[in-house]
């Protein structure tokens, strides 16, 4: 009885010992972190063996097959990782639980003397060629790699025009590589050549005051009327520019701020006594996007900077553009920095305060409006 008893005691330990792991053509080891009986495999080995896409961030790892993917949080404590079914980070290596991965991505999982993880070859069911688009249907989800002027469908087989079978999968040779490749689901892969829609920058012109708040009064003119008139003149010169109020209405600062948060450029217009033109900029910006935008815009290539300006901006660059545009009119802007309303936003936000003497005639207002519009255009170029 004694040897049987020892064997019974050892059985659980033997069951948790590392086992051979076969993933497609790759061979490795399945391990059992925390002794919980859940088999784990090294993520890169699994991805390589089955042609899965792999993404690793700071605290997460994802493995994908076509439109399917499985995300694992990463934990360094092996017992906690196994208890939560999370990914286990051991130094540079990351291990993922194999059974949950198989269930999520539709892999074949077999546990006998070792662990066998495999993916049956996908069969090409059909190809639809449309203008600037090719749609391919497979018997299961597949991953595709763009390699030069061709696309390789991993672990897939089939026949057709432009298709050739290789050891790694099915290759489709093209005249030019697609601009977009995506997986709409149902084992489909779409290749497209149309350029993606480019996001456009949005400009918000905010006429200060309004409704119950008239602002300052100068020579029978009210600030709320002057700012609205000026905003309309600027908006007429900038297609797609928005104005935060359309008439003499009270617009709470919360509503203005909500519009400003989503805009690429915000110019809040105000009026002061005399002929000075003052420009107010934020001293400190609170969001990480805003804080990084200035450095990114300074270093990014022109095309990327143009795209970045849609979402984040540099009020100092906008200020420089305004200073240049106004200097052409012989006006020197007085610049100040501080916690000014509507300027702590991801985009480029400034408060521009124009002396009432500069707005006495329609011609003068048009000149000021043209300078503002020109500065915004220059900033967004």
């Amino acid at each position: 009885m004694r040897p049987w008893g020892i064997l019974l005691l050892l059985l659980p330990a033997l069951a948790q010992a590392p086992k051979p792991l076969t993933v497609g053509r790759e061979v490795g080891q399945a391990i059992y972190p925390g002794g919980r009986g859940l088999a784990y495999g090294e993520a890169r080995l699994v991805a390589r063996g089955l042609g899965l896409s792999l993404w690793q961030g700071q605290d997460q790892l994802a493995l994908g097959l076509g439109s399917r993917y499985k995300v694992f949080p990463l934990v360094e404590n092996e017992a906690q990782a196994a208890a939560r079914g999370a990914g286990w980070k051991r130094g540079q290596e990351v291990f993922v639980p194999l059974r949950p991965l198989s269930e999520a991505l539709g892999l074949e999982y077999r546990a006998q003397e070792g662990i066998l993880l495999q993916l049956p070859w996908a069969k090409l069911l059909g190809v639809e060629r449309r203008p600037l688009q090719i749609l391919l249907r497979f018997s299961r989800e597949v991953n595709a790699l763009v390699e030069g002027n061709s696309v390789l469908f991993l672990l897939a087989q089939g026949e057709g025009a432009g298709l050739s079978q290789e050891a790694r999968g099915l290759r489709l040779t093209l005249e030019t590589p697609p601009t977009r490749l995506y997986y709409p689901g149902g084992g489909q892969v779409i290749l497209e050549w149309s350029p993606p829609a480019r996001p456009r920058p949005t400009v918000l012109l905010d006429p200060g005051h309004g409704g119950k708040d008239p602002g300052i009064s100068a020579g029978g003119l009210l600030e709320k009327d002057l700012t609205l008139d000026l905003a309309r003149r600027v908006a007429a010169r900038l297609p797609n520019a928005r104005v935060s109020r359309q008439g003499d209405e009270t617009v709470p600062l919360e509503a203005r701020l909500s519009l400003a948060q989503a805009a690429s450029v915000v110019v809040s217009l105000h009026v002061t006594q005399g002929s000075a033109v003052n420009l107010y900029l934020p001293k400190a910006r609170s969001t990480p996007l805003a804080q990084n935008a200035e450095a990114l815009l300074a270093s990014a290539p022109a095309e990327q900077a143009t795209l970045l300006k849609v979402y984040a901006g540099d009020p100092r660059r906008l200020a420089e553009a305004l200073e240049k545009a106004f200097s052409a009119l012989g006006i020197v802007l007085a610049r100040a920095e501080g916690p000014y309303a509507l300027t702590d936003i991801p985009g480029a936000g400034v408060v521009l305060e124009v002396g009432v003497e500069r707005l006495k005639t329609p011609e003068a207002r048009n000149q000021v409006a043209e300078a503002i519009a020109q500065a915004i255009r220059t900033y967004l170029e």
Partner: protein
């Protein structure tokens, strides 16, 4: 132990307890009936030195020290707010609340009505710096408008607290 628990000892203990109780009650009654006269310390606390920061455009703010006399019923906070409003001819803030090192000032809706950007900035900083300098325990000032947190006034952002430079 038996010697201690005699009839006379217990009787003495009861009488002592009763006597102590009567003495304590009479002390409390006397204390509440006495009218405390103002001492020198109390009169010293009735004056409050205030460091007013007054708008002085275009240079900025001008410091001015004043001593306020606190009448019975006056709170230092209320007195400083009233003195500041009088000095600037500005609407008086509705209330001031202390939350440890944070002072919360409730502004009226017309606090900055009819001001341009620099005038509004000077008025707001004047109030914040006056409070922070007069009450050293205050480290920062936050502003409410009509009892509610607001993102700002017409030109100034109020989402962040104000501190001395």
């Amino acid at each position: 132990m038996r010697r201690l628990l005699t009839f006379w000892n217990l009787l003495g203990l009861v009488l002592f307890t009763l006597g102590a109780l009567v003495y304590w009650q009479s002390q409390g009654w006397r204390a509440s009936s006495a009218l405390p006269l103002p001492s020198e310390e109390a009169s010293a606390a009735s004056s409050l030195p205030v460091l007013l920061y007054l708008p002085n455009p275009p240079q900025g703010l001008l410091k001015e020290t004043r001593t306020l006399e606190l009448a019975p019923g006056d709170t230092p906070e209320n007195k400083v707010l009233a003195a500041w409003a009088e000095a600037l001819q500005a609407p008086k803030p509705r209330a001031l609340y202390r939350l440890g090192e944070l002072f919360v000032v409730d502004l009226p809706a017309d606090f900055a009505l009819g001001l341009d950007t620099s005038q509004e900035a000077l008025r707001l900083y004047s109030l914040a710096y006056t409070l922070l300098s007069t009450f050293p325990q205050a480290q920062e000032v936050r502003f409410l408008v009509e009892g509610e947190p607001k993102p700002g006034l017409a030109h100034l952002d109020l989402s962040q607290p104000f501190r001395l430079p």
